[in-house]
């Protein structure tokens, strides 16, 4: 992973150094997981649950995404999902639903950056 790629990922809200530390500085490993992330369907489950107004399903999906983003040190997304989970647990569904556009755009930024690096 060169410096440019790191910069791109960092700009998309991924704390590369933190993630590398977690993967024992194994860049290949991080690359593999980031590519895996592209295939994850959790975000669609979340979108559907929000659209259906299913707070329980939304909480489950958001929670899973929060864990995954945390593991990959996607700090921007992690913070957003953390907020959303808190909102859902406090029964503030409208607030949680209101965050969707911000979440989707951040999600797009991250996936675009990953595709840009290795796409």
């Amino acid at each position: 992973m060169d410096t440019l790629q790191k910069q791109q990922l960092a700009a998309a809200g991924i704390n590369v150094d933190d993630a590398l530390a977690r993967f024992m500085n194994n860049e290949m490993l991080l690359e593999r997981f980031l590519k895996k992330f592209l295939n994850d369907t959790g975000i669609h489950s979340l979108e559907k649950a929000i659209a259906d107004g299913d707070a329980q399903a939304a909480l489950t999906a958001s929670h899973t995404l929060k864990g995954m983003c945390g593991n990959l040190s996607m700090t921007v997304l992690f913070d957003l999902f953390t907020k959303q989970v808190t909102a859902l647990r406090d029964d503030r569904f409208a607030d949680a639903a209101g965050m969707m556009s911000e979440i989707l755009s951040a999600y797009q930024t991250v996936t675009d950056a990953i595709r840009g690096c290795w796409g």
Binding site: R22, F23, M24, N26, L29, F33, K36, F37, D40, G42, T60, H63, T64, K66, G67, M68, G70, N71, L72, S73, F78, F81, T82, V85, R89
Partner: protein
């Protein structure tokens, strides 16, 4: 909207139909009568005009006869004188006398007489050139000679001397060539008759046989030539016969219509009278005016009526609409005539419409209603809504009478409200019976009543509990007070014995202390209930705080011969919090444990911090092997003023407020408290509270990246995780450290994989909290419940993205040993595993 407007107009047209017809008939009759009248008038005037013309002709003829007679007299006189042989001079002088006589009779300028006597012109008013006048070439002379003794009249010509239109009357004497002639100025042909007056604005013309205008009357301000042309045009029409019909007319010089009436004189002259149609039809015009006025008034009247009707109709329509809207809220409406005892159905439910006719005897309706309401209600209904009752209500002017009852709709009963409404001024002897469904309101009412009853019940219970509490409290307070009083008495009696006094004084101190604690607890609880307790957060050493609390109890443990131990497992002990309240919690938990344990029992306090993070969860477990509590009492444990009655036989001091106070404080610290207890086995209180860790400079340095001495190499771990990416990350990291990973994709799978494994095959289980089919907590509970040697001992570590106190409390309650938050910090995971595996 448009259809209602169309309806409105149709309605209006209907109401005005009669008026419009009458007006139309009047108009048609009027116009017809007007036409007939005009026709008759024109016919009348045809006769009248012609008669007038005739009479004027005879008058004019008379006029001329006068001149004829005079000239006859003249010529015969001359003849006679000639026969008598009078000289020319004598005849001339006679003529002169004759002229004078004539002028005196007719007036001086009426006629200008003159004579040709033996070739000599003798004039009454001699004019210049008399001598040279060539009389033989003059028309009148030629005509007179030709007529040979008959009187002749010339046509009109312009007199050369006076330059005025004149006619000449002439006659030749029988026996000589003497010709006598009068020039008559046309204006003197005026008819002086007063026999018949011409109608107003009529014109009168006299023309000679060539059509030359001799005389005209009534047309002013027009030149003679203009008039001549005008008369010529009339004469052309007369000759062509186009003016013979009674209703023909000409346009006069001013463009007005005129009827033309004429008659010819025997000498070829023609008299024309024109009368304006205005004059002829004056009568019919008046009639037309009157008729028009009457019609206008009628139409005006109709418009007023129409406007009023329209206004009234729209008002009525609006009222109707409003009534219909009001009626919508009722499912059935009946008008009941209580004098004749009949009903009329305005609106009815489907069931009723199918069962009874639109109108009928009231008893039938009542009978019908009896079929759909319960029998006991029906008896009352019959009584309340009988005709007599209605009469009574109307007489007493009770305008709103009715009530609610259950009515059967199909198979189910629903609440219905019935009301009797009436207005004796609008419909005497009638009332309106209306039915409205009020099931929802009624159910709401019931619910509210139930709520109220419950609230009342709660209040009563709470009152009772407080009452009981005060009773207990009084008792509890009386006990130490009695002791103090009794001991004081003893001190007084044994004042000489210092040994005894010291013993009594100790007891007094102890009792007073107990009383003070009691009062403090009561005050605390009351403050908490009012929400007046505020946490005073500051840096403090949690370990120090707990140590201080524990130390006092250590002495008590030793005295009471109980096993008492404290374990700490913390990364950082300096935290931000309220140490005083923390002590209060510990004191309450510990005193509770000591209270319910006996000699030989053990009490263990475990304090641990879950992760080494800035905001950390701390867990304090106070476990005893005392008498425990019944399952039934556990839910009430944290309720104020409750105390399990089975304990009352034992001499237990305390208010029963300790646990509610603890619960209150823990909640205020954003923590959770959980209790596990079994009668005869013991009680475990687990308090999970988050604290913000306060890092001290020197403490952060020593252990940054120290390689764990403990190795995970060769360990076998069951990993339960439903998210693919998370699963791979965890697997990868752990595998790199030599751990053998068995993957389970949900709690159910984890449970069955563990069941299939050999005992002690797995060194640990990493459990995601939230998984499909079976979540982490449930899987952990199920694993702990298995009957195999490692079921209770295998370390289960919760892995979750949530680190709320309630989550951690839940994992602990499910029997999990530790908690690691996502994102997984490998070092923390290793530390946690190390600790758990070492303990094993």
């Amino acid at each position: 909207m448009s259809s209602s407007r169309a309806k409105k107009w149709i309605q209006l047209f209907k109401s005005l139909r009669l008026y419009i017809t009458v007006i139309a008939v009047i108009a048609v009759l009027g116009v017809a009568y007007h036409a007939i009248l005009q026709d008759a008038l024109l016919r009348n005037f045809q006769e009248l005009g012609t008669a007038l013309a005739k009479s004027y002709v005879s008058e004019e003829t008379n006029n001329l006869t006068v001149y004829e007679t005079l000239i006859n007299f003249g010529t015969q006189s001359i003849n006679a004188q000639k026969e008598m042989g009078n000289t020319e001079e004598e005849i001339e002088s006679w003529i002169g006398t004759f002229y004078k006589q004539m002028q005196s009779v007719l007036g001086s300028s009426t006629v200008d007489p003159y004579a040709i006597l033996d070739g000599k012109l003798i004039a009454a008013n001699p004019w210049e050139g008399d001598d040279t006048f060539d009389y033989e070439s003059a028309e009148w002379y030629q005509m007179a000679m030709e007529a040979d003794g008959d009187v002749i009249f010339t046509n009109v010509y312009t007199d050369s001397i006076y330059n005025k239109p004149v006619i000449t009357v002439a006659q030749k004497c029988a026996d000589s060539d003497t010709v006598l002639a009068f020039d008559i100025f046309s204006e003197n042909l005026r008819v002086h008759s007063s026999a018949i007056q011409l109608p107003e604005k009529s014109s009168y013309f006299v023309c000679d046989s060539t059509g030359t205008l001799i005389y005209q009357q009534a047309v002013k301000g027009r030149s003679w030539d203009e008039l001549q042309a005008y008369v010529d045009s009339i004469l052309v029409k007369i000759e062509s016969g186009s003016l013979d019909a009674y209703d023909t007319y000409i346009d006069d010089l001013d463009g007005q219509r005129r009827g033309v009436y004429y008659y010819s004189m025997s000498n070829g002259w023609i008299i024309i009278i024109t009368i304006p149609f205005n004059t002829i039809l004056a009568q019919s015009s008046q009639f037309a005016l009157l008729l028009g006025l009457v019609l206008c008034l009628c139409i005006g009247g109709i418009l007023v009526v129409a406007w009023r009707d329209l206004h009234l109709y729209s008002q009525v329509e609006r009222t109707n609409e409003t009534v219909r809207v009001l009626g919508n809220s009722y499912f059935a409406l009946y008008r009941v005539d209580y004098q004749n005892e009949t009903y009329e159905m305005i609106k009815g439910s489907d069931y009723v419409r199918n069962s009874i006719p639109q109108k009928g005897p009231y008893s039938e309706l009542i009978h019908m209603i009896g079929e759909v309401i319960p029998a006991d209600t029906f008896v009352e209904f019959q009584k309340s809504f009988s005709p007599e009752s209605m009469r009574n209500l109307v007489a007493k002017r009770i305008r709103d009478y009715g009530g609610d009852f259950l009515r059967k709709f199909g198979d189910e009963y629903r609440w219905v409200n019935v009301r009797i409404l009436f207005d004796e001024s609008l419909a005497p002897d009638e009332v309106v019976l209306c039915f409205r469904e009020v099931d929802q309101e009624k159910q709401q009412q019931f619910k509210e009543r139930e709520l109220l009853e419950n609230a009342l019940e709660n209040a009563k219970r709470s009152e009772k509990a407080k009452h009981a509490f005060f009773n207990n409290m009084s008792h509890d307070m009386r006990t130490p007070l009695n002791a103090i009083l009794g001991l004081s008495q003893l001190v007084r009696q044994n004042a000489e014995d210092p040994e005894k006094v010291r013993g009594y004084m100790d007891k007094i101190y102890y009792s007073s202390r107990q009383l003070l604690d009691l009062v403090n607890d009561i005050l605390d609880m009351s403050r908490m209930e009012q929400g007046k307790v505020v946490l005073n957060n500051e840096n403090f050493d949690l370990k120090q705080c707990i140590d201080d609390c524990v130390s006092t109890f250590s002495i008590q443990a030793e005295a009471e011969k109980k096993h008492f131990s404290v374990n700490y497992s913390m990364y950082s002990s300096t935290v931000m919090g309220d140490s005083v309240r923390m002590s209060q919690i510990m004191n309450n938990l510990l005193s509770n444990a000591f209270k319910f344990t006996s000699e030989g029992d053990s009490i263990t306090v475990t304090v641990k911090q879950f992760e080494d993070k800035d905001y950390s969860q701390y867990q304090i477990v106070v476990q005893d092997t005392g008498i425990g509590m019944s399952k039934e009492f556990l839910p009430q444990l944290f309720e104020p003023y409750a105390r399990e009655t089975t304990f009352s036989s034992r001499q237990i001091s305390g208010t029963g407020l300790g646990m509610p106070i603890v619960k209150n404080l823990v909640t205020q610290m954003s923590g959770q408290i959980h209790v596990d207890s079994e009668l005869g086995v013991g009680t475990t209180f687990t308090v999970t509270v988050p604290f913000t860790v306060v890092r001290e400079e020197e403490k952060t340095i020593p252990e940054p990246q120290n390689i764990p001495a403990f190795s995970l190499d060769g360990k076998k771990i069951l990993l339960a995780e439903d998210n693919m990416v998370n699963m791979e990350i965890a697997t990868e990291i752990l595998s790199m450290n030599g751990v053998e990973i068995i993957q389970a994709w949900n709690g159910q799978e984890a449970l069955s994989l563990f069941k299939q494994s050999k005992p002690f095959e797995f060194d640990a289980i990493l459990m995601d909290m939230q998984m499909p089919q079976m979540d982490g907590c449930e899987a952990a509970r199920n694993i702990r419940a298995l009957s195999r040697p490692d079921a209770r001992s295998v370390p289960i570590i919760a892995v979750t993205a949530n680190a709320f106190a309630e989550d951690i409390a839940a994992t602990t309650a499910a029997g999990m040993n530790a908690h690691v938050s996502k994102p997984i910090d490998f070092n923390i995971l290793c530390q946690t595993l190390e600790k758990l595996l070492e303990n094993k």
